[in-house]
Amino acid sequence: MAAKRKSLRSKPQQRVSATEALSFAEKKAEKESKSGQIPDGDVRLTANMREDLHMKLKLAAVQRRTTIGELLEQLVEENL
Protein backbone atom coordinates (compact mmCIF):
# COMPACT_ATOMS: atom_id res chain seq x y z
CA MET A 1 0.00 0.00 0.00
CA ALA A 2 1.27 3.53 -0.75
CA ALA A 3 2.73 5.61 2.08
CA LYS A 4 0.12 7.48 4.06
CA ARG A 5 -0.99 10.66 2.32
CA LYS A 6 -1.45 13.95 4.02
CA SER A 7 -5.12 14.73 4.62
CA LEU A 8 -6.53 17.09 2.05
CA ARG A 9 -6.67 20.55 3.56
CA SER A 10 -9.96 22.31 4.00
CA LYS A 11 -10.37 25.70 2.35
CA PRO A 12 -13.37 27.90 1.84
CA GLN A 13 -15.37 26.53 -1.05
CA GLN A 14 -14.79 28.42 -4.27
CA ARG A 15 -16.14 27.87 -7.74
CA VAL A 16 -13.52 27.91 -10.46
CA SER A 17 -14.66 28.53 -14.00
CA ALA A 18 -13.52 26.18 -16.72
CA THR A 19 -11.61 28.98 -18.39
CA GLU A 20 -9.73 29.65 -15.13
CA ALA A 21 -9.12 25.92 -14.65
CA LEU A 22 -7.56 25.48 -18.09
CA SER A 23 -4.11 26.52 -16.85
CA PHE A 24 -4.23 23.74 -14.26
CA ALA A 25 -5.59 21.29 -16.80
CA GLU A 26 -2.81 21.98 -19.28
CA LYS A 27 -0.01 21.81 -16.76
CA LYS A 28 1.93 18.61 -17.25
CA ALA A 29 1.79 16.24 -14.33
CA GLU A 30 5.22 15.94 -12.69
CA LYS A 31 4.87 12.24 -12.28
CA GLU A 32 4.28 10.37 -15.52
CA SER A 33 1.30 8.17 -15.23
CA LYS A 34 1.65 4.52 -16.14
CA SER A 35 -2.07 4.29 -16.90
CA GLY A 36 -2.91 3.60 -20.51
CA GLN A 37 0.25 1.60 -21.28
CA ILE A 38 -0.16 -1.22 -23.77
CA PRO A 39 -0.10 -4.66 -22.11
CA ASP A 40 2.66 -7.04 -23.16
CA GLY A 41 1.68 -8.97 -26.27
CA ASP A 42 -0.81 -6.33 -27.41
CA VAL A 43 -0.51 -3.60 -30.01
CA ARG A 44 -2.54 -0.40 -30.20
CA LEU A 45 -4.68 -0.09 -33.33
CA THR A 46 -5.85 3.22 -34.76
CA ALA A 47 -8.26 3.00 -37.66
CA ASN A 48 -10.71 5.24 -39.49
CA MET A 49 -14.22 3.87 -39.62
CA ARG A 50 -17.63 5.01 -40.86
CA GLU A 51 -19.47 6.78 -38.06
CA ASP A 52 -22.57 4.57 -38.23
CA LEU A 53 -20.43 1.41 -38.11
CA HIS A 54 -18.49 2.75 -35.16
CA MET A 55 -21.74 3.38 -33.26
CA LYS A 56 -22.91 -0.14 -34.17
CA LEU A 57 -19.64 -1.54 -32.80
CA LYS A 58 -19.92 0.47 -29.57
CA LEU A 59 -23.53 -0.57 -29.00
CA ALA A 60 -22.65 -4.23 -29.65
CA ALA A 61 -19.83 -4.04 -27.10
CA VAL A 62 -22.10 -2.55 -24.43
CA GLN A 63 -24.90 -5.02 -25.10
CA ARG A 64 -22.46 -7.97 -24.94
CA ARG A 65 -20.85 -6.52 -21.82
CA THR A 66 -17.42 -6.44 -23.33
CA THR A 67 -14.96 -3.90 -24.73
CA ILE A 68 -14.55 -2.83 -28.36
CA GLY A 69 -11.01 -4.26 -28.35
CA GLU A 70 -12.16 -7.68 -27.14
CA LEU A 71 -15.07 -7.71 -29.58
CA LEU A 72 -12.71 -6.91 -32.48
CA GLU A 73 -10.35 -9.70 -31.37
CA GLN A 74 -13.26 -12.12 -31.34
CA LEU A 75 -14.43 -11.03 -34.81
CA VAL A 76 -10.92 -11.40 -36.26
CA GLU A 77 -10.48 -14.84 -34.70
CA GLU A 78 -13.82 -16.03 -36.03
CA ASN A 79 -13.66 -14.55 -39.52
CA LEU A 80 -10.03 -14.37 -40.65
Binding site: K6, L8, V16, A18, A21, K31, S35, M55, K58, T67
Partner: protein
Protein backbone atom coordinates in the same frame (compact mmCIF):
# COMPACT_ATOMS: atom_id res chain seq x y z
CA UNK B 1 -26.51 27.45 -9.95
CA UNK B 2 -25.49 24.36 -11.86
CA UNK B 3 -23.84 21.61 -9.83
CA UNK B 4 -21.03 19.63 -11.45
CA UNK B 5 -20.29 16.06 -10.44
CA UNK B 6 -17.21 14.40 -11.92
CA UNK B 7 -16.84 10.61 -11.99
CA UNK B 8 -13.18 9.85 -12.41
CA UNK B 9 -10.75 6.97 -12.06
CA UNK B 10 -7.67 6.19 -14.11
CA UNK B 11 -8.29 2.47 -14.44
CA UNK B 12 -10.81 1.37 -17.03
CA UNK B 13 -13.79 -0.84 -16.27
CA UNK B 14 -14.23 0.28 -12.66
CA UNK B 15 -17.77 1.59 -12.98
CA UNK B 16 -17.43 5.25 -13.98
CA UNK B 17 -20.04 5.05 -16.72
CA UNK B 18 -22.29 2.81 -14.64
CA UNK B 19 -22.37 5.38 -11.86
CA UNK B 20 -22.57 8.34 -14.24
CA UNK B 21 -25.52 6.98 -16.20
CA UNK B 22 -27.40 5.88 -13.09
CA UNK B 23 -27.02 9.28 -11.43
CA UNK B 24 -28.01 11.07 -14.64
CA UNK B 25 -31.19 9.00 -15.00
CA UNK B 26 -32.21 9.81 -11.42
CA UNK B 27 -31.16 13.45 -11.29
CA UNK B 28 -33.19 14.32 -14.41
CA UNK B 29 -36.32 13.88 -12.27
CA UNK B 30 -35.19 16.78 -10.03
CA UNK B 31 -33.72 19.25 -12.54
CA UNK B 32 -32.56 19.23 -16.13
CA UNK B 33 -29.44 17.07 -16.20
CA UNK B 34 -26.56 16.95 -18.61
CA UNK B 35 -24.42 13.85 -18.98
CA UNK B 36 -21.05 14.64 -20.57
CA UNK B 37 -19.16 11.67 -21.93
CA UNK B 38 -15.46 12.53 -22.05
CA UNK B 39 -14.26 9.00 -22.75
CA UNK B 40 -14.37 9.31 -26.50
CA UNK B 41 -14.36 7.44 -28.79
CA UNK B 42 -15.16 4.59 -26.39
CA UNK B 43 -18.29 6.51 -25.30
CA UNK B 44 -20.07 4.08 -23.00
CA UNK B 45 -22.33 6.81 -21.62
CA UNK B 46 -23.02 7.99 -25.15
CA UNK B 47 -23.91 4.43 -26.16
CA UNK B 48 -26.18 4.05 -23.14
CA UNK B 49 -28.04 7.23 -24.13
CA UNK B 50 -28.30 6.04 -27.75
CA UNK B 51 -29.84 2.74 -26.60
CA UNK B 52 -32.26 4.68 -24.41
CA UNK B 53 -33.34 6.79 -27.37
CA UNK B 54 -33.53 3.83 -29.72
CA UNK B 55 -35.89 2.05 -27.37
CA UNK B 56 -38.17 5.09 -27.80
CA UNK B 57 -38.53 5.40 -24.06
CA UNK B 58 -39.45 9.06 -24.51
CA UNK B 59 -40.33 9.67 -20.89
CA UNK B 60 -36.98 8.58 -19.46
CA UNK B 61 -35.04 10.76 -21.93
CA UNK B 62 -36.97 13.92 -21.09
CA UNK B 63 -34.95 16.23 -18.90
CA UNK B 64 -31.68 14.54 -19.83
CA UNK B 65 -29.22 15.79 -22.42
CA UNK B 66 -26.15 13.92 -23.59
CA UNK B 67 -23.05 15.86 -24.58
CA UNK B 68 -19.64 14.62 -25.58
CA UNK B 69 -16.20 16.14 -25.23
CA UNK B 70 -13.19 14.85 -27.12
CA UNK B 71 -10.83 17.49 -25.75
CA UNK B 72 -10.42 19.56 -22.63
CA UNK B 73 -11.18 22.73 -24.59
CA UNK B 74 -14.48 21.26 -25.72
CA UNK B 75 -15.27 20.26 -22.14
CA UNK B 76 -14.32 23.73 -20.88
CA UNK B 77 -16.75 25.28 -23.37
CA UNK B 78 -19.55 23.01 -22.14
CA UNK B 79 -18.82 23.81 -18.50
CA UNK B 80 -18.66 27.56 -19.02
CA UNK B 81 -21.90 27.51 -21.01
CA UNK B 82 -23.79 25.43 -18.43
CA UNK B 83 -22.43 27.05 -15.28
CA UNK B 84 -25.11 29.75 -15.05
CA UNK B 85 -28.04 27.39 -15.61
CA UNK B 86 -29.86 25.66 -12.78
CA UNK B 87 -28.99 22.09 -13.73
CA UNK B 88 -26.98 19.05 -12.76
CA UNK B 89 -24.00 18.07 -14.87
CA UNK B 90 -22.55 14.58 -14.56
CA UNK B 91 -19.13 14.26 -16.18
CA UNK B 92 -17.95 10.77 -17.13
CA UNK B 93 -14.16 11.15 -17.21
CA UNK B 94 -11.76 9.15 -19.37
CA UNK B 95 -9.68 6.42 -17.73
CA UNK B 96 -6.42 8.37 -17.75
CA UNK B 97 -4.65 11.31 -16.21
CA UNK B 98 -4.87 13.95 -18.92
CA UNK B 99 -5.97 17.51 -19.40
CA UNK B 100 -9.63 16.46 -19.37
CA UNK B 101 -9.36 14.73 -16.00
CA UNK B 102 -7.42 17.65 -14.54
CA UNK B 103 -10.11 20.03 -15.73
CA UNK B 104 -12.85 17.88 -14.22
CA UNK B 105 -11.10 17.79 -10.86
CA UNK B 106 -10.65 21.55 -10.81
CA UNK B 107 -14.22 22.46 -11.83
CA UNK B 108 -16.41 19.84 -10.14
CA UNK B 109 -18.37 20.50 -6.99
CA UNK B 110 -17.98 16.84 -6.12
CA UNK B 111 -15.64 14.19 -7.51
CA UNK B 112 -16.58 10.55 -7.15
CA UNK B 113 -13.82 7.98 -7.47
CA UNK B 114 -15.18 4.47 -8.05
CA UNK B 115 -13.01 1.90 -6.38
CA UNK B 116 -13.32 -1.85 -6.29
CA UNK B 117 -11.97 -3.79 -3.36
CA UNK B 118 -8.86 -4.99 -5.15
CA UNK B 119 -5.20 -4.11 -4.67
CA UNK B 120 -4.82 -3.44 -8.42
CA UNK B 121 -7.50 -0.76 -8.41
CA UNK B 122 -6.08 0.81 -5.29
CA UNK B 123 -2.59 1.00 -6.83
CA UNK B 124 -4.05 2.61 -9.96
CA UNK B 125 -5.62 5.35 -7.86
CA UNK B 126 -2.30 6.78 -6.71
CA UNK B 127 -1.74 8.88 -9.84
CA UNK B 128 -5.19 10.37 -9.45
CA UNK B 129 -4.59 11.19 -5.81
CA UNK B 130 -1.31 12.94 -6.68
CA UNK B 131 -3.24 15.14 -9.07
CA UNK B 132 -6.00 15.84 -6.56
CA UNK B 133 -3.41 16.90 -3.98
CA UNK B 134 -1.89 19.21 -6.57
CA UNK B 135 -5.32 20.71 -7.32
CA UNK B 136 -5.98 21.14 -3.60
CA UNK B 137 -3.23 23.76 -3.53
CA UNK B 138 -5.54 26.02 -5.55
CA UNK B 139 -9.06 25.09 -4.56
CA UNK B 140 -11.04 23.14 -2.01
CA UNK B 141 -11.58 19.77 -3.68
CA UNK B 142 -14.33 17.47 -2.48
CA UNK B 143 -13.26 14.03 -3.72
CA UNK B 144 -14.82 10.90 -2.29
CA UNK B 145 -14.39 7.22 -2.88
CA UNK B 146 -17.41 5.23 -4.00
CA UNK B 147 -16.93 1.57 -3.25
CA UNK B 148 -18.17 -0.38 -6.25
CA UNK B 149 -18.64 -4.12 -6.78
CA UNK B 150 -18.13 -4.24 -3.04
CA UNK B 151 -18.44 -7.58 -1.30
CA UNK B 152 -18.60 -6.23 2.20
CA UNK B 153 -19.01 -9.65 3.73
CA UNK B 154 -15.44 -10.62 2.83
CA UNK B 155 -12.64 -9.92 5.29
CA UNK B 156 -10.34 -8.68 2.52
CA UNK B 157 -12.84 -6.05 1.40
CA UNK B 158 -13.29 -4.79 4.93
CA UNK B 159 -9.54 -4.66 5.54
CA UNK B 160 -8.90 -2.87 2.26
CA UNK B 161 -11.64 -0.37 3.04
CA UNK B 162 -10.04 0.45 6.39
CA UNK B 163 -6.56 0.72 4.87
CA UNK B 164 -7.69 3.02 2.08
CA UNK B 165 -9.60 5.25 4.47
CA UNK B 166 -6.53 5.52 6.69
CA UNK B 167 -3.88 5.97 3.99
CA UNK B 168 -5.65 7.99 1.28
CA UNK B 169 -7.01 10.80 3.42
CA UNK B 170 -10.19 10.83 1.36
CA UNK B 171 -13.76 10.67 2.51
CA UNK B 172 -15.87 7.84 1.24
CA UNK B 173 -19.53 7.80 0.32
CA UNK B 174 -21.69 6.04 2.91
CA UNK B 175 -23.48 4.15 0.13
CA UNK B 176 -21.50 1.23 -1.26
CA UNK B 177 -22.53 -0.42 -4.51
CA UNK B 178 -22.57 -4.19 -4.39
CA UNK B 179 -21.39 -6.75 -6.92
CA UNK B 180 -24.67 -6.95 -8.88
CA UNK B 181 -25.54 -8.13 -12.37
CA UNK B 182 -28.44 -5.66 -12.34
CA UNK B 183 -26.05 -2.77 -12.98
CA UNK B 184 -24.67 -4.41 -16.12
CA UNK B 185 -28.13 -5.47 -17.28
CA UNK B 186 -29.49 -1.95 -16.83
CA UNK B 187 -26.53 -0.30 -18.60
CA UNK B 188 -26.87 -2.56 -21.64
CA UNK B 189 -30.56 -1.61 -21.93
CA UNK B 190 -30.15 2.15 -21.60
CA UNK B 191 -31.70 2.13 -18.14
CA UNK B 192 -30.66 2.90 -14.61
CA UNK B 193 -30.70 0.14 -12.00
CA UNK B 194 -33.66 1.96 -10.43
CA UNK B 195 -35.62 1.58 -13.69
CA UNK B 196 -34.56 -2.00 -14.41
CA UNK B 197 -36.59 -4.90 -13.00
CA UNK B 198 -33.65 -6.24 -11.02
CA UNK B 199 -33.50 -7.02 -7.29
CA UNK B 200 -34.66 -4.28 -4.98
CA UNK B 201 -31.21 -4.11 -3.35
CA UNK B 202 -29.70 -2.64 -6.51
CA UNK B 203 -32.60 -0.19 -6.92
CA UNK B 204 -32.30 0.91 -3.29
CA UNK B 205 -28.50 1.20 -3.45
CA UNK B 206 -28.46 3.47 -6.46
CA UNK B 207 -31.29 5.66 -5.15
CA UNK B 208 -29.42 5.97 -1.85
CA UNK B 209 -26.24 6.95 -3.68
CA UNK B 210 -28.07 9.54 -5.77
CA UNK B 211 -29.71 11.05 -2.68
CA UNK B 212 -26.39 11.12 -0.85
CA UNK B 213 -24.73 12.92 -3.77
CA UNK B 214 -27.55 15.45 -3.97
CA UNK B 215 -27.33 16.17 -0.25
CA UNK B 216 -23.59 16.87 -0.61
CA UNK B 217 -23.73 19.09 -3.70
CA UNK B 218 -26.84 21.00 -2.63
CA UNK B 219 -25.20 21.88 0.68
CA UNK B 220 -22.48 23.72 -1.20
CA UNK B 221 -23.24 27.28 -2.29
Amino acid sequence: MTKFIGITQVKGGVGRSTIATNLAALFRKRKHTYLIDCDMPQGTSESWYAIRQEARLTEPVEGLTLLTASSHQELANHIDRLADEDSYVIIDAPPRIAEVTRLIVMTSDLILIPLGASEAEVWATNDLLDMIEEAQEQKDIDARIVWNRFRGYTKSAQELSQTVKRDFGLKEMKTKLGYRVAYVDALSRGLSAAEWRGPKESREEIVNLANEVLRIVNRRS
